[in-house]
Amino acid sequence: MLVLPACASAPRVPATAETIASLARERQIVAVHYHALGTPGPLHNGARLVHGSVTMAAPTGWIKDRFVQSLEARLGLQQIRNVPEPRFAYLERERAAPDARALKRTFERGLVFDFYSPWQYLPAAGGRLYRASEIQVRLLRLDDLSLLWADSCSFDAGHLPPPPLFLRLESVEKLYTPAALGRASGCADVLVARLLGDPER
């Protein structure tokens, strides 16, 4: 069981200096994230239990927003288009990452950052997640679907309060405490630093 989290981690592909330089030249850079909430409805319907747990992932949209802001500030970029709507994660045959061909079908050309997080289960009583929340990021060139950079980051979601039983869950961010979201933001900062080759803190 101890080996499982390591097996599930995404492979790291460091960015080259050419990749970083190409960010400034590229006309179209898109940033997308995938759905992070798999149980949208209430957990209870009256006295009846509908879902015994919440299916949730790391706050992909939150981390993406922080990442894009930070990267734009660091590199002086203005052409990153941050897509607000989450996408469906149609996983590749190996079930490790979302299928990049779907991104090409939507955006056709340019570069894409995509932010994916595997789902976990939060009991209706709240508590700790089984393992640390992990976010996986890739930079893909859509013309040839080449992988220019891949990395991941984990953070401790801490003790999560019980999710609302009778309300529709609006977003996964509502399930995290402010402190946990702060650690998620730190995760985004780590990813930017790794992309740009900053020394490890």
Binding site: H35, R87, F88, T106, F107, E108
Partner: protein, 218 residues
């Protein structure tokens, strides 16, 4: 070996054995009413300019089955009539799933504009729509009936056109008893637009289809 252990082994073998089943299915197979320039591919998608769409009807049912043990060799030897294993539904609703796979970002879909024509009567309007949802990922979709999978919103009743930027699914509820596979019906796929311009709606004709399935489990 004691009689007790022999009995134990025999009991374990009986309990551990799997079962095998051969089933015959009837369903409504999508075809094109006007197949001049379009075709349905092996996954059930109709190719339109810049977009592929698939439509399925959830009225499939098993009409006959053979079931039996599967210790070493599967032995589906016990006949089961369809009226026992999967009786036809006699109450509404009737669900239809629509999957849309666009190229680019300009497509929208208004699921409430889809019309269902049964026995050449006037078009029925969906009373409830669900989605956007993910499209279920399984093979043999043309013979499968439930296209829509994970639905992140939990919302329904969308009226305004919904942007469709990736492979996306919608479920439409009609307040009629699900027609049997013997009944032909047509789904007019109105509501799809590209950059605000309506896409010529394909007319999907459903006719009777049959399929066999084999299941064997331990």
């Amino acid at each position: 070996m004691t009689p007790r252990s022999v009995l134990g082994i025999a009991l374990t073998l009986v309990l551990a054995q799997g079962c095998a089943a051969v089933q015959r299915w009837e369903f409504s197979r999508p075809t094109l009413e006007r197949p001049e320039s379009m075709a349905i591919d092996e996954k059930g998608y109709v190719g339109l300019p810049g977009v592929k769409v698939a439509v399925t009807a959830r009225n499939d049912r098993a009409t006959f089955a053979l079931a039996g043990p599967a210790i070493v060799v599967p032995l589906p030897i016990i006949p089961l009539p369809g009226s026992v294993i999967d009786p036809p539904k006699r109450e509404p609703p009737f669900w239809i799933d629509v999957a849309i796979d666009p190229e680019g970002e300009g497509f929208t879909f208004a699921p409430g504009e889809v019309r269902l024509h049964v026995d050449r009567r006037a078009g029925l309007t969906p009373t409830l729509t669900r989605g956007p949802a993910a499209v279920s990922e399984y093979l043999g979709r043309r013979d499968g009936q439930v296209l829509c999978g994970f639905d992140p919103s939990g919302d329904n009743g969308a009226i305004a056109p919904i942007p469709v930027r990736e492979r996306t699914c919608f479920s439409l509820r009609f307040e009629i008893v699900p027609p049997t596979a013997d009944t032909s019906f047509v789904v007019s796929l109105h509501g799809l637009a590209k950059d605000g311009q309506p896409v010529d709606p394909p007319q999907i004709l459903f006719t009777k289809g049959r399929a066999w399935s084999f299941q064997c489990c331990l």
